[in-house]
């Protein structure tokens, strides 16, 4: 995985495999402006809206740094081209042929596939779907994209904050693999919910009652009772953010010291 991302970032170009100088230049030119795609499956568009809230870096990003080569409303193309990176928003509905096909094709045509937002990475609130609804009662099973294809990194959040998107973009541009490591690790976190706090923190003798989970929850599904998180299942959308933000789930010490200048 690391090697693949490094390749995407051009950190590990392999000039010896290339026949001529022209080809090297061609590769360098292509590398200079990564080709990005956006695949919109069963998500609410919140993720792309959060992305677009990065007004300060967005113009520069879209005009000079990346090329958007695929995406509804973002690029005027029907055929999916080869892409360096594809952002997938939304979970995938197993009964929706088009979604499944588009996801599979994206995996084939993209160097890196990012599960963008909680619906794509954990299934989020689409986990509650049981079919039988209007429009298409047959659309019953919505799963995180990682259930069908290999995900290279995940950016959970309902939606991911504009800041984490900006920080990730900056890390990608700088080739800061240390910063991106948690996103690579989170690709495996596909079954999420507020009960993770009980299973993976409280039950493991790790909770210290700091309240970060309750602060992070976007739906106010969490309260703190006697120093421990208490979940209101009815409000939980299974985004996984409480567990992701908990200081006792994973601990990015080096990054924090760097950010604080300590």
């Amino acid at each position: 995985m690391l090697a693949k991302i490094k390749e995407f970032l051009g950190i590990e170009a392999k000039p010896e495999e290339l026949a001529s100088k022209e080809e090297v230049e061609k590769v360098a030119e292509e590398k200079a402006k990564p080709r990005i795609g956006y695949v919109h499956l069963s998500g609410c568009t919140g993720d792309v809206m959060s992305l677009s809230e990065n007004y300060d870096i967005l113009a520069e990003l879209l005009t000079n740094m990346v090329e958007i080569v695929y995406g509804q409303t973002l690029a005027d193309v029907w055929e999916m081209p080869e892409m360096d990176l594809v952002l997938v928003e939304g979970s995938v509905c197993l009964q929706d042929e088009h979604s499944v096909k588009e996801l599979m094709e994206a995996r084939e045509k993209a160097g890196l596939l990012v599960a963008f937002g909680s619906c794509a990475s954990t299934g989020c609130f689409t986990r509650y779907s049981r079919g039988g609804q209007q429009a298409n009662p047959n659309h019953e099973s919505f799963v995180p994209v990682g259930d069908l294809v290999k995900v290279d990194c995940a950016l959970p959040g309902c939606p991911p904050s504009p800041e984490i998107i900006a920080k990730t973009v900056v890390a990608v541009i700088n080739g800061d693999m240390d910063y991106l490591q948690p996103m690579i690790d989170l690709a495996g976190y596909t079954e999420a919910g507020g009960s993770d706090l009980q299973y993976k923190v409280v039950n493991q003798a790790l909770c210290i009652g700091c309240g970060t989970c309750a602060m992070a929850c976007q739906t106010r599904a969490l309260d703190m009772t006697n120093g421990r998180p208490e979940l209101n299942e009815d409000r939980c959308v299974k985004c996984g953010i409480c567990y992701v933000q908990c200081p006792r789930s994973w601990w990015p010490a080096e990054q924090i010291n760097k950010d604080l200048g300590l």
Binding site: S50, S118, L155, P156, G157, C158, P160, S161, P162, E163, I164, K167, P182, K200, Q204, A205, L206, C207, I208, G209, C210, G211, T212, A214, M215, A216, Q218, M224, N226, G227, C239, I241, V244, Q245, C246, P247, R248, S249, W250, W251, P252, A253, E254, Q255, I256, N257, D259, L260, G261, L262
Partner: protein, 294 residues
């Protein structure tokens, strides 16, 4: 390095008589937060405020010096201060939030600032994090046991609790009762047993009583932000300083206790890892400095 990175270490206390009276140690926390409020360095502060139940704190957004003062003093039980941060920003509309945190809460805030996955427009609004020392914390029921069973006093009558000189102290209007801190063992929360941070290594300014004489605090100034605020507060006369004793009852003691907390936690971390239990920190064999908070 067992005390983390700091720019300055000193003894300090509030110059305000009222704060001196109500605060736990040197009143550094209350002095800094009220000063920062008055100077508009922050427009509100998250503190462990009083609740309907005596000695059971509730995380509170304080907007005035009076509200900060009402939260002075240590409550030896869990106050999930981080939980109201979002409220402070969204509901109270604060742009510059101050907060007092024990080390593990500081860690939650710093992780959120470095990786704000689902937390939107909050990371940059934390203007000041004052960390307090912490050896361990207790569930509320444990605290009740200490007071009623071990000290044998009515909860309502307690004026102050303190841990120091190897003892747990309970002060009432006419009594000062103590019992050995050893007797609190087994009552602390379990998550504390893997905690590697005594002094809030990641806060802007941290303070505690270890290494300081009575009614003074030991203070570590850590970040650039912390340095600016601390200097302003000292220059304005809100806080007075004196050098910390380098010897047995000063810096040496603080270093010794920080180190022993880390060594104890590392033993527990290694033990849990050997059993296959999850711990977010590295085992001793996985890191260069076996006592680093990583």
């Amino acid at each position: 390095m067992v005390l983390g990175t700091y720019k300055q270490i000193t003894l300090g206390r509030s110059t305000d008589k009222q704060i001196q009276k109500i605060s736990q140690d040197g009143g550094i926390v209350t002095a800094l937060l009220t000063f920062a409020l008055d100077e508009k360095i922050i427009d509100g502060a998250v503190v462990a405020g009083p609740s309907e139940e005596m000695w059971k704190p509730t995380p509170t957004v304080a907007l005035s010096s009076d509200e900060v003062m009402a939260a002075a003093g240590t409550k030896y039980t869990i106050s999930p201060n981080n939980m109201v941060l979002k409220q402070a920003v969204r509901q109270y509309g604060l742009e510059k939030v101050g907060i007092v945190t024990i080390p593990c809460q500081t860690m939650g805030i710093r992780k959120m600032q470095s990786y704000p996955f689902g937390v939107r427009f909050l990371a940059d609004k934390i203007a000041l994090d004052i960390g307090i020392c912490c050896t361990e914390n207790f569930p509320f029921e444990s605290l009740k046991t200490f007071i009623s069973a071990k000290a044998g006093v009515d909860f309502e009558l307690v004026e102050k609790m303190d841990i120091g000189k190897g003892k747990f102290w309970v002060k009432t209007q006419d009594d000062l009762i103590s019992f050995p801190i050893k007797e609190t063992h087994g009552y602390e929360q379990n998550g504390c047993k893997v905690c590697l941070d005594l002094v809030s290594e990641l806060s802007d300014i941290s303070t505690g009583s270890i290494g300081a004489p009575d009614d003074w605090s030991a203070v570590q100034v850590r970040t650039d932000k912390g340095e600016t605020v601390f200097k302003q507060a000292v220059d304005a006369g809100a806080i007075e300083l004196k050098p910390i004793d380098e010897g047995k009852f000063g810096l040496e003691m603080l270093t010794k206790l920080a180190k022993s907390k880390k060594e104890k936690a590392m033993k527990e971390i290694d033990r849990r890892k050997a059993m296959g239990l999850p711990v977010p920190y590295k085992g001793s064999s996985e890191k260069e400095d076996p006592l680093a908070n990583v």
